[in-house]
Symmetry: C2
Subunit: 460 residues, 2 copies
């Protein structure tokens, strides 16, 4: 079995029952407290105690309105609506922790790179270098409609715009202010040496940014780049920019070819393929014994909402299963969309005849990802198997209930992983990038595309 170090992120969102529709009805779930800042500061302290790399905060800027053709189900079931802004709890969480990272999801489709670069630099300052950015190009039609785009930008054009957006923010973070630009010399009356701050003079197809960056270099400069992209263009983007890359599969054997493709694409892009840390979505349900964990799972499973699960799934897949009989297998369904849906699930169990209810039950705890149920040894074994078979580096841990699921991981799984010597007992460095790459790697690696904009290199 692999002895590679296990990385854990917590996966949450400024909403109710993030990946577990219906579980808000469980008496121990506190996800309805998502708009109470104490929920977030408490969670951050818990995760830091458990030596998690980061809290990964998902986001959507729209409503899941495919299922039954409207927002009613999303509202009733609170499937990711109401939803808050993902950046705004970070300073409060950062102020009560010292090491935990914060990966925030922001769609570049609705941002200007000039002001966006300032936002993340500000957070990186406030957290002493513990910010990651999950780069998203939005996928919800309901978001586009409300944000000034009469229809969504085409998929390929989104990635072109995305590439240019990344170039601009890299220039602002890496290529505008030299390391020693801020001198704060009271005698000479010089706060910043103007000779060491450079206009980026970006003039592109989508963006014109001639000026200097507005922020002095933050600890990490470029935040740790998180990425999730499963399409061919998505893999290329992730292979080029991602430092922590996130994907979802039902089993490690299914994940593996994708990871191989990603690492090969990274190598082609001139990067060390192992410098991409791959995180897979998993929901861990654990207790002292397998039996207790199984009982916990059964309890949670009873709270899954059929409509809520299919509503989430409709938003992700574009497929409205509301008119299909819940208990009839979908395998012979007539449309391409249904066939491809069934294929995705049949990777989990090819022998099963998948029904809408099966899909709802799968999605209902932890979304499309794997659910690992068992005692600390069972869970640790399974996580290590995922790493070995799937060649992943770690896990984005969704919750069934929050903070209960995370408390259980910290109480049961973390000590077992530490006992096996595959999980840290202390954080290695100060910044999120060091937590992911090891002490000393505060800035982007030299094989990362942001490094091309480092001033030191250009000026040597």
């Amino acid at each position: 079995m692999t002895d590679r170090r296990v990385h854990l992120n917590a996966f949450d969102m400024t909403c109710v029952g993030h990946q577990s529709p219906g579980l808000w009805r469980h008496p121990d779930d506190e996800s309805h407290r998502f708009d109470d800042i104490r929920y977030w500061t408490g969670l951050a302290k818990l995760l830091e105690r458990g030596r998690f790399d980061s809290l990964f905060i998902a986001d959507v800027l729209g409503v899941y309105d495919v299922y039954k053709g409207g927002p009613e189900t999303a509202l009733r079931e609170s499937t990711q609506v109401p939803v808050g802004d993902p950046l705004l709890a970070v300073s409060a969480m950062g102020a009560v922790t010292e090491h935990l990272g914060f990966g925030v999801t922001v769609s570049l489709t609705y941002e200007q790179p000039y002001s966006f670069a300032r936002k993340l630099a500000t957070l990186d300052h406030y957290t002493n270098g513990r910010v990651g950015w999950n780069v998203v190009t939005s996928y919800l039609e309901s978001a586009a409609r409300n944000l000034g785009l009469s229809t969504q930008i085409s998929h390929d054009e989104r990635y072109e715009l995305g590439e240019e957006f990344m170039e601009v923010v890299y220039k602002l973070w890496e290529g505008s202010w030299e390391d020693d630009a801020v001198v704060r010399d009271a005698e000479a009356g010089v706060f910043t040496d103007p000779a060491k701050v450079h206009p980026i003079e970006h003039h592109g197809r989508f963006f014109d940014v001639p000026g200097i960056g507005l922020t002095a270099p933050s600890p990490q400069r470029t935040p740790v780049i998180f990425q999730a992209g499963a399409s061919p263009r998505g893999i290329a983007f992730a292979a080029r920019h991602g430092e922590a890359v996130f994907n979802t599969a039902t089993r490690p054997e299914v994940m593996r070819p994708w990871v191989d493709r990603l690492r090969a694409a990274a190598a082609e892009a001139g990067r060390d393929p192992r410098s991409i840390k791959v995180f897979t979505l998993v929901t861990i349900i654990t207790a002292a014994t397998d039996e207790e964990a199984r009982a916990k799972y059964e309890d949670y499973a009873q709270h899954v909402s059929y409509d809520g699960a299919l509503n989430l799934y409709g938003g992700w897949s574009g497929l409205d299963l509301s008119s299909y009989p819940p208990d009839e297998p979908l395998e012979y369904a007539e449309t391409e969309a249904v066939r491809s849906a069934v294929e995705a699930f049949s990777t989990a169990d090819p022998d099963r005849k998948w029904t809408p209810r099966d899909i709802a039950n799968w999605v209902g705890i932890g979304g499309m990802g794997a659910v690992v149920v068992g005692s600390p040894t069972t869970v640790a074994d399974e996580l290590q198997r995922w790493m070995e078979v799937g060649d992943v580096d770690g896990f984005n841990c969704a919750y069934a209930i929050t903070p209960g699921t995370f408390e259980d991981i910290v109480e049961f799984v973390v000590p077992e992983l530490q006992r096996r010597g595959v999980y840290p007992t202390e954080y290695e460095g100060e910044t999120l990038r060091e937590t992911i790459y090891g002490k000393g790697q505060v800035h982007v690696r030299d094989d990362h595309p942001a490094a091309a904009h480092k001033l030191n290199r250009e000026r040597v």
Copy 2:
């Protein structure tokens, strides 16, 4: 003398030496810690101890590059660059306080109302209703150039766009979710009652926002609207939308006609003219005695930067004074711009022959506002005179040094105002709007334009 209650805001910005260029060189100034979250949490606790209404956080999204035609002076003197995002420290400050409000400056020119409404609602949730929004339509050409506008939108068009932006966010905050939309009924499996959430169906000249708001009602719903607008269109906008309106004048006699116009315009717009709380910019330099305060002022004045002050002034006025002899009076200067600059200052002292150095010295401590120097009784007298003569309701307190200036106000001035019975010893309510309007006034007043979008009213 007036016995009206005095309101105090602290005026700061995510930058060095906000309104006091050069004072960062003073050994007691800590404004260089603006990117340390502990600066902000410490400041928030201090201000709450002093019963300040709010911390008002200014912002610019560009660089002051009029003076000497480039950003060099702004960098060297750190006149509002480097500059961070104004929203991101709020949750940390909110988490360590219970009553202090936070007025954040955001230019609507570079925001989409749909996502922006979510940001402020999220902060209003996190702070339990203590958020204000200083509505700005940006003025820096250097911002426009970097944010996708090849040139700035015309002044009048900005206000039209601003009016529509306000309409959209009011609809999202007030008119989408009914008060009792979130039921969280686990038995019935209903988190939000879909019948009580309404798409806003906004279709306007600048914005199309057909959908529902993304956030459940926050404590205040609409944040307290701060506004500063001195131009004729600006007064109309402030009179219509502002709840706390901010202006700057050298003397209360000069401020008064503007306040009269503002209140008259509010009345014309159907609002109680006294429901607009007018704040004027003031920098208070105080100590136990007049003599000590004067000595403190003299010490600060020695740290003012000539170039820094004229750089700030250039950004505000568009006037580059770098080529004018520092000590020659400007009064007979040939251009309209210079004449109007001198006129502005001559309101402070019509008999003086204003030179660039005089302007720099004026601007160098506390920007264009008044500086009040003296013992607690002297300062309290002068603040009360401002309220009586200028008909203002309170003060946006800039700092000469931070947090020193605020510490002095809390130590010396607040107790004197409390002794006079014109300043609260406890906060009156829970939310920022209650702090400004009195206990119970959590939501916008019925004569405020946001109230037109209240659902209860429409549905009665």
